[in-house]
Symmetry: C2
Subunit: 98 residues, 2 copies
DNA sequence: AAAATTGTTCGTATTTTTGCGAACAACGAA
DNA sequence: TTCGTTGTTCGCAAAAATACGAACAATTTT
């Protein structure tokens, strides 16, 4: 896309949508919606994927801005990034005009 | 995911999100939201991508169930797949609890 | 029938995503 | 300080996504 046709909103929406484009990542966000925070280990026990794979999915969500990690040694506490979550919420709300 | 942990809802949401995970596809859906139908040619004029690339994106949206094509020779009229759009709407609404 | 229009499909190349296990780093506990 | 716990990063491999132009198919127009 050398010439920019897409609006920033569309770019952002696509970015968030992409981050939510995998069942594991939807699962994580849904869990965080219920309890607002969780540890990678908790997820690792529930999900039938390798630790390293989970770590990558969490990184994806982090890179997309949907979650943030906080060191709580020796673990890492993952929480929803509320600011960006709200943004995503608004974007999807508008997109689906709901 | 040989052992199914994810719910159908989560799988579906991820599927729709994935389909929306590209700016061009967001653009198309947003246009269809405004005018409900459009032709590939219209899009091709506005978007700085090759016809074949656009065709692939439309196929993605079709495969995800978000749009449907109707032959109106020599063109193809693309419309929102209302049933699935509603489903996606509901899924995202619930997901974002909005 | 020949030519033009519309859009898909094919072939190809590049990049990104997904996934795993092994190795590593950081930290608390023994 | 050594050992366990926790989670990331590395190295690799396979699959999927992105993108293009050329070729093709279907239909309408000339």
């Amino acid at each position: 896309m050398e010439v920019k046709i897409m609006s920033d909103e569309q770019q952002k929406l696509a970015r968030y949508a992409k981050a939510l484009g995998h069942p594991v990542r939807v699962y994580v966000m849904q869990l965080l919606g219920q309890q607002s925070c969780c540890y990678s280990g908790d997820l690792s026990e529930e999900l039938p994927i390798a630790k390293s794979t989970l770590s990558q999915h969490l990184k994806e969500l982090k890179d997309a801005g949907l979650i943030q990690g906080e060191i709580e040694a020796p673990r890492i506490k993952y929480c929803v990034n509320k600011e960006n979550w709200s943004e995503a919420q608004e974007l999807f709300k508008t997109f689906f005009r709901i």
